[in-house]
């Protein structure tokens, strides 16, 4: 008679069972859709929270040695009167083979990168001397330069060509004196104190601001005998900037923000489960709208713009130093509805499940790069452009 004794006597019966199990183990093809028999699915909630607590904070940033320097003035019908002064201090580096001959002529060479204002109108600028030493690393947009009365150069901007601005012989000769000063340390020190630099100032109502890449600006000393030229770069530069808006209510509740931190939108809300209505979040999205209607000028002039929102997450006392930190979020504008959409999902989780503090979100549009980029953002009580949170979560009840 057949039997299983052979297995059991050798005590391998359990292993035979295991082999049988493995033989028949199989996998699924997946679930089936049958709404009548399915468990009740959790409801997906898509909530909108309008952010009312929106305010503007002023904290002009440092403007020294950024990518651009900007000068000019323009009366923007939306953003009001804007005036900027560029501060330049040419280097005084002497190579052994270089020389600036007597009666040499100095030219300030500027390549205009972009223009804010009326492109084709002629705009006059003066180059004057600064009368007080300054440092680019500590210069802010709201710092006030001390300007001399001597006009070192003057020029007119019409279009966006390269500018070659002849500087005065007096300034050139004084520069030449320092240029030959030895030793080098003494030369640099004397030059910084005695010739603090140049400022490019707009004449009144000149109708435009223009920006120049600081690394591309130079001063060229052309010898009278046409025996050669010495080129000096602009070692330090900065921008002083002021704005004046006569009618702040002209665009309703929309808020002006500047990339220069002249004006920053503060979103004063704390991420809590009560605010969001759930802590089981699929997506939390901050939506900011550009007020394109309010910014529309009918194309009468050129206004440089940035489409990148930069959102900082800071304590209020750290706003002055926002320039030293990287923004926590960045988002490009969506063209179809002029919105900036920032994914705050992970941020919300951090806030919900981490320790809390008093940091808040601060919004500017555009990088602080030395240009002046004002933007109008939808503010509170604007039914279509108010900042808001879009929350996608699941019902937990």
């Amino acid at each position: 008679m057949f039997s299983c004794d052979g297995f059991s006597n050798r005590r391998i019966l359990p292993f035979v069972y295991l082999i049988i199990l493995w033989t028949f183990t199989a996998c699924d093809e997946g679930g089936i859709v049958s709404s009548k028999l399915s468990p009740d699915d959790p409801d997906v909630k898509a909530d909108t929270i309008l952010l009312d607590s929106v305010s503007l904070v002023r904290s002009p940033a440092f403007s020294g040695n950024l990518f651009y320097f900007t000068t000019g003035s323009f009366d923007d019908p939306v953003f009001g009167s804007i005036e900027a002064i560029a501060l330049l201090r040419p280097s005084i580096t002497k190579q052994p083979e270089d020389t600036i001959g007597e009666n040499s002529t100095a030219f300030l060479k500027l390549n205009i990168s972009n223009i804010y204002g009326h492109l084709s109108d002629a705009s006059e600028f003066h180059v004057v001397e600064l009368t007080r030493p300054w440092r680019a690393s500590s210069w802010r947009y709201d710092s006030i330069p001390e300007l001399g009365t001597n006009i070192v150069g003057q020029f007119t901007v019409q279009g966006s060509d390269t500018l070659n601005i002849k500087l005065s012989d007096d300034w050139t000769n004084r520069y030449r004196d320092f240029y030959f000063q030895e030793p080098t340390e003494l030369r640099d020190s004397l030059y910084r104190n005695e010739m603090p630099g140049l400022a490019i100032i707009p004449m009144h109502d000149n109708g435009k601001l223009f920006s120049v890449n600081g690394d591309e600006a130079t001063i060229i000393f052309q010898s009278a005998a046409d025996t050669g030229a010495v080129e000096q770069d602009i070692g330090s530069w900065a921008v002083s900037f002021s704005t004046e808006l006569e009618d702040g209510e002209a665009f309703g509740t929309s808020q002006i923000v500047y990339n220069t931190f002249e004006s920053i939108m503060k979103l004063d809300f704390e991420i809590t489960e009560e605010l969001l209505g759930s802590n089981n979040l699929s997506r939390v999205e901050l939506v900011l709208y550009k007020d394109t209607v309010g910014m529309d000028t009918g194309g009468q002039f050129s206004r440089p713009r940035s489409e990148t929102a930069r959102i900082y997450y800071l304590m209020s006392h750290d706003v002055n130093y926002a320039i030293t930190t990287d923004p926590r979020f960045q988002a490009n504008m969506r063209e179809d509805d002029s919105s900036y959409r920032i994914n705050l999902t992970n941020f919300a989780h951090e806030r919900l499940f981490g320790s809390s503090d008093d940091r808040r979100l601060y919004v500017v549009i555009g990088a602080n790069d030395g240009r002046i980029l004002p933007t109008l953002l939808g503010g509170p009580n604007d039914p279509t452009r108010q900042p808001k949170l879009l929350i996608t979560s699941i019902e937990t009840e």
Partner: protein
């Protein structure tokens, strides 16, 4: 006893697979669409030999194999027996225009029966699944354009995954009052965890998958009584008739529920147990009765029925469920022990079993009972020198209907059971 050691070790290894505390595992995916209702689908496996006949086994006893079906039958034990079963269920599911296949692996009951006084007093220790709530289902949803950031309709899938079930740990005794009548009593601890996890996966990667995991744990104490009557020479000298009946009293569970979500790799309590209070789930009364007739030592026929009063079930909130109904399962089958004969052919070495069963089910949807009809067959491979055996049972049948938007399931199950039977604590006279 030595022969039991590897088996016990093996059973111990397998034992955690039984979802006393259930764990999500890919192997459990799929499953019946009806498994997420109530406490899950009832599990009826009581003994390998009765399962092969499609019977519950309340009026059956076999000295080679243990049976959970009737506590009174333990009094008839002569050998110490141990048994365990493993089961593969393959479901072909049709409904809603979809057809899928799903395969589940499940461990059956494990049982030890000791004859304290041979053929008079026996005790049993067992662990067995009572319900299984394992399933995977998916539903599609749409987030309207104004409800998501893409500006277009966005699709998401809700995956519902259930796992766990109710299990019973039972210790009982059977006592033979007279030559014909035995009685039995088995107190038990019913416990289990039923997990329902819902995960929403969005088509847009900007949206994080979100999930909810509801965990409901239950425990309660049960009581089961049985009676077993057997009498030989009823219609002929070599025959025997057996009647058996059991009743399991309703069990009031102590239930606890919590709702959690895995968020940013943390288990976050959405609603703690205190939010729900203590649950009031009631596991229903069960009664069974049947008879078997041993025409001779080779052949028996039997029939039995079980009744589960699911109308008496109350859910976690103490409420009855409208989709539940009382369940009756009927089975009829027979067994032929060819191995007892003198045949020398290959087919004379086995035990053959077959039967059919009909189950009214305990669910009613759309005024339609979710019935199950199965045919059962099995082969026992006995040992000639010991009483141990291996049983391989197969069953095939249908559950439910596609009518009224419901789901029809074609079921094929293969069960492998081991039954070890030894004389313990007795010096054998002949080896």
């Amino acid at each position: 006893m030595k022969r039991f050691i590897p088996v016990i070790i093996f059973a111990a290894i397998q034992f955690p697979v039984i979802p006393v505390t259930s764990a999500t595992n890919d192997i459990w995916k799929g499953g019946s669409n009806y498994a997420h209702f109530g406490l899950g689908l009832p599990h009826d496996f009581q003994a390998s030999y009765s399962d092969g006949m499609g019977l519950y086994g309340v009026a059956l006893h076999d000295n080679r194999s243990p049976s959970i079906a009737n506590p009174a039958s333990w009094s008839r034990s002569i050998f110490t027996t141990a048994g365990g079963a493993f089961e593969i269920n393959s479901l072909h599911i049709s409904g809603g225009g979809n057809q899928i296949n799903s395969t589940q692996f499940q461990t059956g009951p494990f049982q030890l029966v000791f004859p304290i006084h041979r053929d008079r007093i026996g005790i049993s220790l067992s662990i067995s699944p009572l319900t299984a709530a394992r399933y995977t289902m998916e539903n599609e949803g749409i987030l309207e354009p104004d409800q998501n950031h893409s500006g277009e309709e966005m699709r998401y899938i809700t995956e519902n995954v259930g796992s766990g079930g109710i299990n019973k740990i039972e210790a009982g005794i059977g006592y033979r009052l007279t030559n014909s009548i035995s009685i039995g009593y088995a107190p038990s601890l019913l416990l289990g965890v039923i997990n329902r996890k819902q995960t929403l996966n969005f088509d847009n990667t900007d949206y994080r998958a979100v999930n909810l995991r509801e965990t409901t744990s239950h425990y309660g104490f049960g009581n089961r009584f049985g009676i077993y009557f057997s009498r030989g020479g009823v219609l002929r000298n070599s025959d025997q008739a057996v009647f058996g009946a059991t009743v399991s009293l309703p069990v009031k569970f102590v239930s606890e529920r919590r709702l959690e979500s895995k968020i940013a790799n943390r288990d976050v309590s959405i609603n703690p147990p205190s939010y729900y209070g203590k649950g009031q789930t009631t596991f229903p009364l069960e009664a069974s009765g049947g008879f078997s007739y041993h025409i001779n030592s080779y052949l028996l026929v039997g029939a039995d029925a079980i009744y589960q009063k699911w109308k008496g079930y109350t859910n976690f909130n103490g409420q009855a469920e409208s989709f539940l109904k009382d369940r009756i399962r009927l089975g009829v089958g027979s067994q032929y022990i060819a191995a007892l004969g003198d045949g020398t052919s290959f087919f004379s070495r086995f035990i053959y079993r077959m039967g059919v069963s009909y189950d009214t089910g305990n669910f009613t949807f759309e005024n339609t009972d979710i019935e199950t009809i199965m045919i059962h067959g099995g082969i026992g491979i006995p040992s000639s020198e010991t009483n141990s055996s291996i049983d391989i049972n197969a069953e095939f049948g249908f559950r439910g209907t596609e009518f009224a938007g419901l789901v029809s399931e074609r079921i094929f199950a293969l069960k492998v059971s081991f039954n070890l039977s030894e004389l313990m604590f007795i010096q054998r006279r002949l080896q």
